[in-house]
Symmetry: C2
């Protein structure tokens, strides 16, 4: 008597959640110091001090305003601050009137997709991809079309992408730095994406939107520049979240932004407002809107992630693991020495190493290691990784 689809969605734990629960059980048996849980993408560094300071100063202001409804789009001053910063930091031209505050990255995506989707639409994404993309796209009645990237580098395969675009393609979802691989799209990939989209828009005579999912925008450790799609493709819908940059994943705060260059931005923005209303969002959490704006552009101390990346990548590579070099985010993607990633993950569990088989991310033969953990834990885990790979030599 309930929606079968929703029941299934609520009953089936993700592989990630399965591993995390196993880790908690195992920690109770052998002690948490002996379990090396690399399963979850939960920031390990605290929010910057300015978050706490801003909250304290906001508590001195009128509580009926502070905790009151903001407009559905978000507080006007908050949107102005964000628009100014997008200009200052990225040179992007965005009016505050085309920023929509959201309850985090997931809401940025569901609201954008619901705003765009009509019967029979398709949305493309590139492998490997965050598995919830499928849930969000299918919620709107549309179809997710995963397109294979170049194995090992996960850069765009232009031909494969071009073949996948059809008259039903309403948009594509791009995520750089990428969860789960940590890869940043290089200039060739960016060029391929934009050229194909521009060409197909002309060919079909209608818009194709680029949804840029950017929660890891500030988590870049190499000199590699992360592309700013807002400046490169006029039909870009920027979906942002402060979860990772400010270490506020539980607070659910982010935004959607449309650039001045988008011709149909009034219609898209109206549909975004309608979708937010229909899905039940009302407004983004009011106090956190102000905190996010005050701290916009700052980051938690993410230097530990870089340290972790270097330690883990260098050590595992030296041991003989085949790792994809991650420029950002806090994930390391490792080719499994046996074809079946689940078998490898199970074997790793015997060493109390919890790593996620990547099949649900749309690629086979890889595991994801989330290194948003203490450097000390990584150091203690390294001998285990060394023992593990010996099993395959």
């Amino acid at each position: 008597m309930v929606s079968e689809k929703m029941k299934e969605l609520g009953s089936n734990r993700s592989v990630i959640r399965e591993l995390f629960e196993y880790g908690k059980k195992r920690a109770a048996e052998v002690g948490s110091e002996n379990v090396y849980d690399f399963s979850l993408g939960n920031p390990s560094v605290p929010a910057p001090k300015s978050v706490e300071e801003k909250i304290k100063s906001l508590l001195e202001t009128d509580p009926t305003v502070l905790h009151g409804y903001t407009s559905a789009q978000g507080d006007a001053n908050v949107r102005k601050t964000i628009a100014d910063n997008l200009k200052k930091r990225f040179g992007a031209s965005v009016s505050p009137d085309f920023i929509y505050m959201t309850c985090g990255a997931a809401a940025s995506l569901t609201v954008s997709l619901k705003a765009l989707a009509e019967e029979g639409d398709e949305f493309i994404t590139f492998t490997p991809f965050f598995p919830e993309y499928r849930v969000f796209v299918e919620m709107t009645g549309s179809k997710l079309v995963p397109v294979k990237t170049i194995d090992g580098t996960f850069q765009i395969d232009r031909d494969a992408f071009e073949k996948a675009v059809t008259p039903h393609t309403k948009g594509i979802i791009v995520n750089t730095p990428n969860n789960p691989s940590g890869v940043i799209l290089n200039p060739d990939s960016v060029k391929a994406i934009i050229e194909v989209l521009e060409k197909k828009q002309k060919e079909y005579g209608h818009d194709i939107f680029l949804i840029s999912d950017e929660p890891y925008r500030e988590l870049v450790y190499s000199d590699t520049e992360n592309p700013v799609f807002l400046n490169l493709y006029s039909n870009t819908i920027l979906c942002y979240s402060y979860s990772k940059s400010l270490s506020l994943p539980g607070e659910r705060i982010g935004y959607i932004a449309l650039g001045d260059a988008m011709a149909g931005k009034s219609d898209v923005y109206a549909a975004i407002c309608g979708a937010g209303r229909a899905l039940g969002f009302v407004c983004a959490p009011s106090m956190m809107q102000r905190v996010a704006a005050a701290c916009d552009g700052e980051t938690a101390d993410v230097s530990v992630y870089r340290e972790n990346r270097d330690l883990l990548y260098n050590s595992l590579t030296e041991m003989g693991y085949d790792c994809v070099y991650p420029d950002g985010a806090f994930y390391l993607f490792v080719k499994t020495p046996t074809a079946n990633a689940k078998d490898f993950s199970d074997k790793a569990c015997e060493y109390d190493l919890l790593v996620v088989p990547a099949d649900s991310f749309g690629v086979e033969g890889y595991v994801r290691i989330a290194y948003c953990v203490s450097t000390d834990m990584i150091k203690r885990a390294l001998p285990k990784f060394a023992e593990l790979i010996k099993e395959y030599k």
Copy 2:
């Protein structure tokens, strides 16, 4: 190229929002002290001091936990506190495992509806009703079926209700104290609802759910007791929000609860978890979850609402207005002296009195006056109301 339905939803301002915007414009012309805006249901009293104190004490705790993801259902301690309070305050038996923390009342409703709705389903509600019910129900692809209540008292018309229940009825939405009328359902109405539902469940051989939308539960000013459906009907889905009780409407925090007595609660709860995931909620705002639990059962100082109700009801009745006596919430429902409520609202605007024509609430010939304003504003508005009614004598 966007969803036409979402675009329309985002473009069409509600009557309430139209009036509110007009009021702001008018205030700029004649001074805000000369505009009497009764359009919005935005709490006028500050959150209790304990909210601020709890936030401050939480800021002394580990920020990676405080601002980190909670489980999708909500923090375990938060759910335990709420379950304990439901027992203590209402004698309701609810396990923490069947509480789901939400981003406020709207989210409680959209998640519940999405969890239940299948192709062709119908949801009943009673007039007058909160207009967003239609938006939320239609978002799931279901149909909203409004059932007329007894004019003037807005209590349940048992025959009309019974006739409206069909094999397609998946659930009904009940809201007491009611927005927009302030009416509390009396024991006869409650009995009628439950008897009809029990009878029809048997007749059709399937569940019919009662979604109890209770944001105004704590805003009761008369001796009239507000029904606790959780104790009266086993297929009750309690949808709660702290927006009105704690004056935190912008913070988006509430919950869904299923009672121990619900036979299919495991399936319903799984579907609720699935729906929250599909709609993009991830988890309710983490810090506010803890604040809500710590202050659960407290209220902002709502005595001013009672004072406002008495002043407004008594004065308008004395002037000759036909008012529905409100036991709770912060709305007064007034019969318009002319059949067309929009005409009356327009005429009231000439006196700078902003009152909402109730057509969009599903009844004709009424206006809603939101008295969550300062008592002083009401006092200053009374002579205007007196002049206004003279036009119709």
